[in-house]
């Protein structure tokens, strides 16, 4: 971390003032007010390791290390306003996908990317166990026996010293948007059954799926909201990836996705938190439904697949949008191209209710100059 102070853009301003200024900018955007300029938020994990020259296995070895490296990466980029999340463990993915994760230096060559290894860990018969045992018991056993059974406890975030993530970042004047993740029962079951198995279930045993979802639903939001509140984070992710309208019919979506998604958002907002709707894949078809969500309390964060211009048309004056400089552009594009695209986003979607952001994570192989070009489109 030597030299970090020198790189810190807080040189001319103390961290507390910078933190307040940046936080205000973001909260104004969320509340659909007009900030002094369009805020820009970074979301990354592996990119931090690469851009700081940290070997991936070292970056992934502990939550503490991930925080240090991510903060250093933030300063390398410069001039952004906040990060989406402030620490990383690849095993966090296991908890929301109910799937094994393959990790460089452990299961993969050191230079490879960590990846979810999606297989059918949950069988059709397991729905009956879930209904009998209830979600907390089923989930606990499933994770211990089938997902994390080959992961030493000390590699899991729960087996490591706790870190005050928010304070670490705050000491550098950087706000962190969210800590917890909630998602619909659809996403959990889809990860555990794998997409092919679960999508088949939707048509072959729909009533059982619905019964399972209703058993699961009460357990989705409370813990994540409690954790975010205790940690002082302003937002909670409400995630969706396989539940996108691009993949399933309107009738399935209306039955198995939207009622649960809508309820989760209300639960998060009712706790006094911002619902950060992290949506992968294409949700364009169903954007009109999002008008039913609380005004000025959500961020629609998309990955480049959803039509953000259509989202602006449908949700203008109702919901803050965040996006969507896509991973391929950040990895393979040139700074001029990234700057042009980002500037167009700012001019067409700002100045109120818009946050400039990558589409999902900044990829590990993103060029630093491209990320800086994205930031400069908003921050100058």
């Amino acid at each position: 971390m030597a030299g970090l102070k020198d790189m810190c853009s807080a040189d001319d301003m103390d961290s507390a003032t910078l933190l307040e200024q940046r936080s205000k900018r973001i909260l104004q955007a969320v509340a659909l007010d007009r900030p002094d300029r369009t805020p820009v938020v970074l979301e990354y994990a592996g990119f931090a390791a690469r851009v700081t020259g940290t070997p991936l296995p070292e970056f992934l070895s502990s939550t503490t290390k991930s925080v240090q490296v991510m903060i250093e990466a933030f300063h390398r980029v410069g001039n952004a306003d906040a990060v989406d999340y402030g620490s990383f463990s690849p095993y966090q993915l296991s908890y929301i996908w109910m799937s094994k994760v393959r990790v460089p230096g452990v299961d993969l060559p050191e230079e490879d990317m960590y990846q979810v290894a999606e297989t059918e860990l949950m069988t059709v018969e397991d729905y009956d166990f879930l209904l009998e045992q209830g979600w907390p018991s089923f989930y606990r056993r499933f994770m211990a026996e089938r997902v994390l059974n080959d992961v030493p406890a000390e590699r899991l975030p729960s087996g490591q010293p706790s870190v005050d993530v928010l304070s670490e970042w705050a000491s550098h004047g950087i706000p962190v948007l969210r800590d917890g993740v909630v998602s619909t029962p659809f996403e959990f079951l889809c990860g555990a059954r794998s997409l092919i198995g679960f999508f088949t279930d939707l048509l072959t045993i729909p009533d059982k799926i619905e019964e399972a979802m209703q058993i699961i639903m009460p357990h989705m939001a409370p813990a994540a909201c409690r954790r975010a509140k205790q940690g002082g984070f302003p937002a909670v992710w409400v995630g969706g990836w396989r539940a996108a309208g691009r993949l399933i019919s309107p009738s399935l979506w209306e039955r198995f996705v939207w009622p649960y998604f809508e309820q989760l958002v209300h639960e998060v907002v009712d706790c006094g938190l911002i619902a950060l709707l992290h949506l992968d894949s294409d949700w364009t078809r169903d954007l009109a439904y999002f008008r039913a969500l609380p005004k000025g309390r959500c961020i629609l964060s998309t990955d480049g697949a959803t039509d953000l211009l259509k989202a602006r048309d449908l949700l203008d004056g109702h919901m803050c949008l965040m996006g969507d400089v896509g991973a391929p552009m950040l990895a393979f594009g040139e700074p001029d191209e990234v700057y042009r695209y980002s500037t167009e986003l700012v001019s067409r979607l700002g100045p109120s209710g818009f946050i400039l952001h990558s589409g999902c994570d900044i990829p590990l192989d993103a060029k630093l100059a491209n990320v800086q070009a994205m930031v400069s489109a908003a921050a100058g």
Binding site: M113, I196, F199, T200, S249, L364
Partner: protein
Amino acid sequence: MNTLDALAAAIVGGNASLAKTLTARALAEGVPPSRVLNDGLVAGMNVIGVKFKCNEFYVPEVLIAARAMMSAMAVLRPVLVNTGIKPAGRVVIGTVKGDLHDIGKNLVVMMLEGAGFETIDLGVDVKPEKFVEAIRSNKAQVVALSAILTTTMPAMAETLAALQAAGVRRRVAVIVGGAPVTQSYADAIGADGYAPDAVTAADKVKDLMKNAPRSSV
């Protein structure tokens, strides 16, 4: 409704047990196996493709249709083998080196088999030389490459380079796909085709076979 029309309808409706029964019935009625395949199973899957493209069907409907198709093929395949009927083409498919994702690739396999192609599925994390070897040993006309990460997309270009170096590139059409892959990326690395989804992939492979027929390796 004759048996083949009923079979096609069973595929479209994703009724696996009925598709199996009707396949056996058609064969028992003396319908040539090639007609059972083309006018029953493939005809049903063609309807699925059309409905998918006009947003009437989505991935779950495609999946249960493919499952019905595979169930029927379990009855039909031994008969096809005995009669020496050749597949529509032979496609080597895999997720490129360093990438462990296989959902999209598996969907493509289902759609290709539904269109009457024989697939040689090499799985995930497939090294370029393994693609070369499979193309050679199976006399494939098409190779399909999948990547889901920007970090593994360059392995598509490496695979194309390996095909070139091994002298098989001109004899095989290359199609690429995966969430971050685009037409412009496919063009940049010199692939012959790009598909954003499994149904389009099957169509594209048909076009590649039709428009640029490849000789056996």
